[in-house]
């Protein structure tokens, strides 16, 4: 089981209470598709992903970005049992969606950078470390049901 310090718990809850899910989710997901274009392979049905502007304005991208961050919210609300919280999602990503779990880390990095832009100077090194630890636990849980 993952041990969280008080600082880490408070930091994660604070970050997620401050960011706007319908802004950060879509921004992070769009950024992932732009910065790591090979991730587009999983979204053939999403329409126009031809360039950064198209990706940013794509309504399916926005919708999916919001879905993703709402999924993260479940981890925020269950920090002491993220592994079990994500069992079904992990099976889904492995057996139905066939997503290479390395991609989860790419999205996590993009989310970190988007949150950094939102919080500016308040996103200190210590806050970043707590946020990255949280995302690492999420990424690990999502990859757990791959066999």
């Amino acid at each position: 089981m993952v041990e969280w310090t008080d600082f880490e718990r408070d930091t994660i809850k604070d970050i997620f209470s401050r960011i706007k899910y319908d802004v950060v989710g879509p921004a992070a997901f769009a950024r992932c598709l732009v910065v790591y274009p090979w991730t587009q392979r999983y979204f053939g049905g999403f329409g126009n992903l031809d360039n950064a502007a198209a990706i940013k304005g794509n309504p399916m991208v926005s919708k999916h970005g919001t879905t993703i961050i709402q999924g993260l919210d479940r981890a925020v609300k269950n920090m002491d049992d993220i592994e079990n919280t994500y069992t079904e999602l992990s099976v889904l990503h492995s057996e139905k969606l066939h997503v290479d779990p390395d991609n989860f880390k790419l999205l996590a990095d993009c989310l970190t950078i988007v949150v950094a832009a939102q919080l500016g100077k308040e996103f200190t090194g210590e806050v970043q470390a707590a946020f990255q630890k949280f995302l690492a636990v999420v990424v690990s849980a999502l990859g757990r049901q791959y066999h």
Binding site: V34, I113, A117
Partner: protein
Amino acid sequence: MLSNKEKMLIAEIWESLTPVAEEIGADALLRMFACFPGSKTYFSHLDISRGSPHLLSHGKKIVLALAEGSKDISQLTVTLAPLQIMHAYQLRIDPINFKLLSHCLLVALSCHMRDDFTAVAHAAMDKYLSAFAAVLAEKYR
């Protein structure tokens, strides 16, 4: 692969950050030390606490090298030759750390530039930092 547009954007960004090279460099290093404590092992001989002269001067060196390299990206192997030798034979920093610092540099840029650090700028910068790191490690073996 960097397009000409991306190369110009990268050079522009580093040029604009040169006046705050110390601040950005030190910030990136501090982030790396906080997030990836193994990276601290290379600095046991220096004072790397927040605000220390060692940290500031080291951060500045790194950012100025990145800025210099960005002026002519096609010549990275020439520009970085002395640094290649230093890293391969003297410093011998495990190249995984270049990735860690690159990530922390992107975060530092994002905190500093906020909305100006667009997805396009991020993509270009990530590619540049990867290329820089690859050249830096070229003489390792």
